[in-house]
Structure formats: structure tokens, C-alpha cells
Symmetry: C2
Subunit: 518 residues, 2 copies
């Protein structure tokens, strides 16, 4: 395998799974040529005139879709760790005797540990998509036949749109669908809110199968997935475990350190002048982020500030802000709790978005760069503000990228992170895996202080007299290393064996993940 050094100084392969790669060229340096992928032309002649595309089983639908060895099959993570369908899908593929599938999930979860046996027996050749938990560990051990490819949510859309990944069959779990294939995630036992991660697949895959446990008569409205893009519909008893699809309760952190981080973030946003009428915000759903939402809400109320839009993953905390009139809109990428689902179903100002609208870098702009402030996490950050979200310091690939890379384009990107976890420092000399270049990361907020990227002189000036514990990143790192008894050990990896690559938002390869020596 040939590795070359890319513009970030990282060693990356030039060929991945038989396809030539473009090494990362620097932020905003690479532009695509050519045209969007054109899926096959179809004719109404080949579809039922009455619109009823229901098949008797998933197996039947896969057969009609022409399933064969070596195909690329896509699924989506709307059902999160409650997803039963993907496991059933691969059980079915296995029974049909089909081999060497490239699985292209929008994300995978611990529930998909079930699929390890299919990676071992050759049913699945390799995975391009996030490999959270057990699958990531399996891949880190060098056990997957092909190479993993990790993309951001936007990068996944871009890869399909650009024709970099050709999906043969998309299998879309739909909490509500009609016989024509119109589908949404708003209602039913598996309600998950929206189906935006399946949009690219529905538009570009050769064949599209919608699977639902909640069939409704035509028309299923709103059609988040359009039946006009769907070939077959399959009805099943259950798509999965609804308690793991969305949770009724999402908990604010109780850790004093994390509460402090959350408070610092809210104070920073106010002090920097970002929290003003008409501003916009993206925050995730971790315990720290939820606490941050609560602190920010109080500040907004106190100052009489209203946001124009907030981006989810939504939770009840974001929904409360919408319903309390603290934001005009939620532009939501996924709903993390039942309140989020309810709000999206009922409130026209709680708008479902997709990686196309929000994150596709090979489009005519996207929403991410319009956001005033994004609050994100990381597994590691280094003294040059580079961020890692996929590997731990021991080298194991245990997380996906999600929308993290895409969100770095916000006008102010804040990483809200504890300075150490399990006595391992989070701030390091050099990130184990480069997922986000430091030039796009503006502020690191830890419980030990706030470090502002020296390039953001404007922010440094703005918070100068705020009383916030502004420090250099080196200062914070020094403190943490002392507490933890030194830097983290270097990961023991085989630098000749790349087990996965990390794509940048423009489809270039920004870093490699190496096999862990056990």
C-alpha cells in the first residue's frame, strides 16, 4: 500500500478499496470537476399504475431489486441503537447466499455488533460509514477485509451526489409510509422525527426499498422520502426497539466539572457578543450541551434576546426555547427525544433538514457556514487546535464523525470538552487522528479554562475583560499533564496497516487510522 503525505502532513493511502483517492489539499483548496451522478432513467410503465409497490417480504424486494454479490447496500441510523432492521437485512442477505456486500450506513451503533459475524464470513466485505463501539474495535484489530471509510454527514451526501459512492440498493426504515413509498419519521411505534440521512440514497440509489412497521394509506404526508424515488415497499411487524430509537428523557449532566464547562460556554457566547437578536446556534445533545442550553436560555431570557434559528439534534430543551419564543425556528437534523418528535410533527417552525441542505460541501452553499456559533465535542484536541472525534488516544476507532466536520464551518466553533477523561489528558501535542484542522476550531472550553485560537484575535479582544478564565492552550495542557501524571502513551499501532481513512468534507483524504497492536 502506497502512503503519501497530504497537505496536513498526514500519511494517507492513494488507493482505497480499489479506488484512487485525492489527498487532503488544505481547507477550501480542492474543487470538484464534472457533474452530479445521474441515476438510471425509469418509466412508469414498469411500476404499478395503482401506486401499490408493496412486496410480500424484504427478501422478495431484495430479489426484485437485483441483489447480487459485491453490491453496495445502504441503511440509515434514524433508529439509532433501537434499529432492528439492519440486522434483519443482513440476516436475509446471508440466507440468500449473497457475498461481499459493501455496507454504506449513515452511522452504525452498538446494536450492529450482530454484523461482526457477517464481516467474518464474507457476507459483508467492508463498511464505509461510522463504526461506533464494537464494530470499530473489530476494524481496529485489522479484521475487516476492506478498508473503512469515514465521512461526515455532509461528506456522505457529497460522495453519493458526486458518484464517488454508487449505491445499488438503499433500504430505508420508515416509521410511517404509504404503499407508493412516501415516508416520514413523524409517527408510529418507531417514530424518530425525520429521515434526512436517507435523502441522498433515495435520490441516487439504483433501487430504493422502504420498510415500515406503520403503513398508512396514500398519501403519507409530509413525504420526507418521496415515493417517486421508491421502487418497493415492505411492511414488517417492528422496525426495532422504540425505547432506544428516541428516549423520553435526555439528562442534563450532573457532573460539577461538566456543568462548569457548560456555564463557561454560555458565558463565553454572551461575553463575545454572539448572543444577540437574530443570532443562530448549533448544539448537540450530550449532557454538557444540554446543560449549556439551559444556561444559555436563562441568559437569553434575562437579556431579552431572541435567536433566528437553532440547529438540532433537537431535545426538549431546544423545543422549550422554540415554544417560549426564544427562537423563530429549529432547523433540525435529527430528533433525540420524544419532545423533539412531537414538536417536529406539530410545529411548522420546527423544520426537518437534511445533509443536502445543511452540510453538502459540493453544493451552492449550505447552512453550516451561516451558523453564528456551534458547540461541539471531541475525543482529543491538540495544541494547534486540531480536533479528533473518531479515535481514542489508544488508537481505537470507536466513534463516527457525524456532522462534526461540517459544523466546523460555523462562524465560531467551540469545543466543549473535559480536560481529561479516565485520567487521560484530552489536550495533546498532536491528535491521534486528524478529523478537523485547527484553523477551523476557534475556542476550547474546559473546566480548567478557555483557550482561544490565536488566529481569532477578534474573539480574544472581545472577551478580554469578561472575567472568564482565558488561558493559552499550552497553559491548560501543562496543568492537565501534571494532574494526570504526564502525556497519554503513544498508541501502539502498525503504521504499515491502514484500517480506515477519514475523509474531509470535500471528499479528500485527511488522515488514516492504523491497526492497533494488541
Amino acid at each position: 500500500m502506497k502512503l503519501i503525505k497530504n497537505a496536513a502532513g498526514r500519511l494517507v493511502p492513494t488507493i482505497v478499496n480499489g479506488k484512487k483517492q485525492i489527498p487532503f489539499k488544505g481547507i477550501n483548496k480542492y474543487k470538484p470537476k464534472g457533474h452530479k451522478s445521474g441515476p438510471p432513467l425509469r418509466s412508469c410503465i414498469d411500476y404499478p399504475w395503482d401506486g401499490n409497490k408493496v412486496q410480500k417480504s424484504l427478501r422478495e424486494a431484495l430479489k426484485k431489486a437485483g441483489l447480487k454479490d459485491g453490491m453496495t447496500i445502504s441503511t440509515h441510523h434514524h433508529l439509532r441503537n433501537g434499529d432492528a432492521l439492519t440486522n434483519i437485512l443482513f440476516d436475509t442477505i446471508k440466507k440468500m447466499g449473497v457475498k461481499n456486500i459493501m455496507w454504506y450506513p449513515s452511522a452504525s451503533f452498538p446494536v450492529h455488533e450482530h454484523l461482526i459475524k457477517y464481516l467474518e464470513d464474507g457476507t459483508i466485505h467492508h463498511i464505509e460509514g461510522s463504526m461506533n463501539g464494537p464494530l470499530g474495535r473489530f476494524v481496529s484489530q485489522g479484521k475487516m477485509k476492506g478498508m473503512g471509510v469515514l465521512r461526515s454527514h455532509g461528506g456522505r451526501y457529497q460522495a453519493v451526489q458526486d458518484g464517488e459512492v454508487h449505491i445499488d440498493i438503499a433500504v430505508i426504515a420508515a416509521p410511517q409510509a404509504d404503499p407508493f413509498g412516501n415516508a416520514n419519521g413523524l409517527d408510529g411505534p418507531s417514530a424518530c422525527g425525520l429521515l434526512g440521512f436517507a435523502l441522498a440514497d433515495s435520490e441516487y440509489a439504483d433501487r430504493v426499498i422502504v420498510v415500515t412497521d406503520n403503513p398508512v394509506p396514500f398519501p403519507c404526508v409530509p413525504w420526507q422520502i418521496q415515493g417517486n424515488n421508491v421502487d418497493f415497499v415492505v411492511e414488517v411487524d417492528s422496525l426495532g426497539d422504540s425505547s432506544k430509537i428516541v428516549s423520553g428523557t435526555t439528562q442534563v449532566t450532573k457532573s460539577p466539572d461538566r456543568l462548569l464547562i457548560a456555564e463557561y460556554v454560555a458565558e463565553f457566547i454572551e461575553a463575545a457578543g454572539i448572543m444577540k437578536n437574530g443570532f443562530s446556534l448549533q448544539a448537540g445533545a450530550g449532557g454538557t450541551n444540554l446543560a449549556f442550553s439551559v444556561f444559555l436560555k436563562e441568559k437569553m431570557k434575562a437579556k431579552g434576546v431572541k435567536a433566528r434559528f437553532m440547529r438540532g439534534g433537537s431535545t426538549k430543551y431546544l423545543v422549550e426555547m422554540l415554544e417560549d419564543g426564544l427562537t423563530d425556528f429549529i432547523l433540525d437534523g435529527q430528533t433525540f427525544d420524544l419532545e423533539g418528535v412531537r414538536s417536529m410533527r406539530e410545529n411548522p417552525n420546527h423544520v426537518n433538514t437534511s445533509p443536502f441542505t445543511s452540510y453538502n460541501f459540493h453544493g451552492k452553499g449550505n447552512f453550516a457556514s451561516m451558523v453564528d456559533v456551534a458547540v461541539l465535542g471531541a475525543t482529543e484536541v491538540d495544541v494547534n487546535f486540531n480536533g479528533n472525534v473518531v479515535t481514542h488516544s489508544d488508537g481505537y476507532l470507536l466513534h463516527g464523525i457525524g456532522g462534526w466536520q461540517n459544523c466546523l464551518y460555523s462562524k465560531c466553533t467551540i469545543l466543549a470538552i473535559p480536560s481529561f477523561r479516565d485520567r487521560i489528558p484530552v489536550i495533546v501535542d498532536e491528535v491521534t487522528t486528524l478529523v478537523g484542522p485547527g484553523d477551523l476550531i476557534d475556542v476550547i472550553v474546559t473546566e480548567r479554562g478557555i483557550a482561544i485560537n490565536p488566529k481569532r484575535k477578534d474573539l480574544i479582544k472581545a472577551v478580554k475583560n469578561s472575567g472568564l478564565p482565558i488561558k493559552t492552550i499550552h497553559q491548560i495542557k501543562k496543568e492537565v499533564d501534571e494532574i494526570c501524571g504526564g502525556k497519554p502513551a503513544k498508541p501502539k499501532v502498525d503504521r504499515n496497516k491502514v484500517i480506515a481513512v477519514i475523509k474531509w468534507v470535500d471528499g479528500t483524504v485527511i488522515d488514516s487510522v492504523f491497526k492497533v497492536k494488541e
Copy 2:
């Protein structure tokens, strides 16, 4: 020019505007090969990070879009006869000294008579799109440089999707838009309801310009047109004359003959057993159709029948049915009055549709064939049930196809027409122009009786004892010819000079329109 006889026995050119054509092969006989058109890949790098795509003028936007001689420019008829923008657009193009534009409107209206001078001076080379009224007369006189191409709403989408028509620049009039290009037709001085006819253009054109007289801050919700497909936004004082965009009042016919037709249609639908719980309906907005809606409503109320969906163009009569609980949904292609606009804005069950969802024949099915009954008009119908909607018996091309061809795919297609107009019989031996094959037309309802296509033995049987005045089409024709003093005169046309062709829903050429000798 080489003309060959197609499967309908009509003479059609093999080349149109330099492009090879496929002659009509019969209903459901032609299937496309290949792939959908792939528009150019773009990069966020080339778009403003803050999402503000506003240009200082339409001229500036056209310049940045690379306007040059011979390009194809598209516009849309959402503003109907109130549209000022298209005329301003071509005034601008003329001032920029650009020539030989192919104009690709979704429809044209009498207000576009203004453009005749540009057809004469070479600014516009030719029009592919409906040419209602004055433009049609001009073209019928053989005065247009290129050949007209008439497509149904679905055929227009199909042609763009298939790459048969490549749009260089789409100019979309938007009653409401944000600086990113998200747009809808729901509000503002030029509110027209929806923007579905511009969907294909926004998806496939090389460059997309949104022009609005009602700018709103990001996000403009719902985004009927997605800003992610838009290159430039232009703000203008006014898009046109709102009183001609939608009318506050749409009048039910007062003509006793037309009222009788409307009553017969409603009675037929009831007698044939179509009007039952969960049925679906498409009806247009002419005076006869409105009267039909009123009659049907009473019948539905009397029998306690509820429809699953009704398709517009919507008017207050359809909206009343939705609000009175007589239908679950309106699936609307365009809104014809202010009540339609209001309902679409306020009622989530009044759903905006597009030619993609409703009519695209090169898709995975569409809505049209799922409709239980469609009530349509025609300029002529012949004894073989063939229909014409574009020319009059004198040969003049005066109307567009609209969704008419697409709607013929409903399970029961009824033409509701007066048996004569201005003492000229509407039922003829052979239609002047074949727009819809008789095999798809099931029932002709006139004030003199109802003719059922002999192929629909099921319908003949169903209404046998209904007491309705069922006659053969020959019987009705004979009566009408006697009243009118004979058949219409043959049009005086030059059969060597094709001035326009009519496309079938699958992109094949079903008939030619010839130059009228004056």
C-alpha cells in the same frame, strides 16, 4: 424537412430544432435508456459563506450566470397573466445585446405578447412551451425562427430530467425568498401558492436565479425551492400584477348548458360507483368544473362520502371541501384563487405537489395514475375519443397542454365539453391535432348526452340503468352537425411547414402543428 408517420398515423418531423426525435410508438410502448441528467458539481468555496447571494440587479445576476448567445433560459407561469418578470427579463437580455435565446417557459400567457418583438428581432430564437393566445397566433403564422415544442407539465419535467432539454439559466419568480435562495409562493404581494413548476429547473439548470419582491431573512420556510440549488438572488419592487396572479373570486358558470354538463358529470361519477369513501378526484378550475365541484359536494354530503384526496388547481370550492371534512387532503399543483393560497399556507393537509410527484412519466410511478377520476376539457374530440387541447378547428395553436396529457392516466378520464362552440362542432371526425389518444379517454360529457368509450364496458354496464342520457359518440356528433349546419371546415394549413410539435408524456412526438394559410 423529413416527416414520417408515427404509430398514431400522424406525420411528424424526425428532427426538431436540430435534435433527433423519437416518433410516438403507441401508449406505454417507449421506454427511455440511460441516466438522468447530472448538473455541474459545485463547491461551497464559490458561494458566500454567510449565505447572502443577493445581487444588485437582474442584469448583474445574468452576467454572473454567464449569459450568452444561444442559451436556454427558463421561466415559470406561477404568476400567470400577472407576470411582469418575464417581460423585464427579456427587456434586460435585449439590452445586454444577447441573441438567439431558447425560451423554455412552463407556460406563457397573453401578457407575454410583449415578447413578439424579441421573436422578430432575434433576441428569442424559439419557444419550447405552451403558447397561449397571441404568441400561438404568431407562431401559427410561421413567423417564429425555430419550431415550437409543446409538452405537458410532466413532459417538461421529464425532458429536463432526461437531459433532452438543457437549461442554462433558470429565472424563478418567488413571492417570498431569503438571501440564500430558499423560496416559496405562500406570502407577499405576489403570493401564488406554490412554485412546483420551477422544481426541475432548480434541480437541473446550470445556474438558478431567484427573483423576489418580498425578501425575508433566512430561513424562508417552507423552502419549496431550495436555496442549496440557487446561485443568485435578486430583489425587485414588484413581480407583477397581483390581481392577475390569483383572483379573489373564481366564478361558477352561469350558462345553462354548462351547468347541465357539470350536473351530468357529477351524476355520472355517482352512478358509476366512483364516488365512494376514500376515492380521489382531479378537476380543473374552469367555470364548468367549478359547477361540477359544487354538485359533487352536495352528493358527497348527502351520501356521507369522504374522499381521500382531491387534486387541484385549487379554488375556494376545493378548499371548502377540505375544510368541511369531505376530503382528507388536497394535493395541489397550483392555486387559482386567494382561498387556495391561504389554505395551502395554513393547512398542512393542503399539500403542494410538483410535476415530479404528480406527472413525471420517467419516474418510479407518479400520482396521476392513482386518481380515480379526472374531469378535463378539450378544444376538440373525435369519434375515436382522441382529444385535442392545443389547436382550434381552424388550425390555430392557441393553448398549452398543461397537465392534461398526464391526467389522462387516471382510472376514469372524463372530458366535460360543450358539443359546439361559436356554432362550430367540438366533436369531429378526426382531431385537428392529436394531443391525447382515445384509448385513454373514457367518457365524453356534453349538454346533449354522455358518450362512453366502447372499450370501457365496465362503465357502460355500471351506468346502464342510471337514467343518464348515454348515447354513442356518433349519435351526439350527428345531432351537433345538424344544429351547426355541418362539420367544421378543414383548416387551411401548409402541410409542408411544421410550426410546432406535440410531445407525448414519454418524450416521443405524437403530432405536428402546421402553418395556417391566411
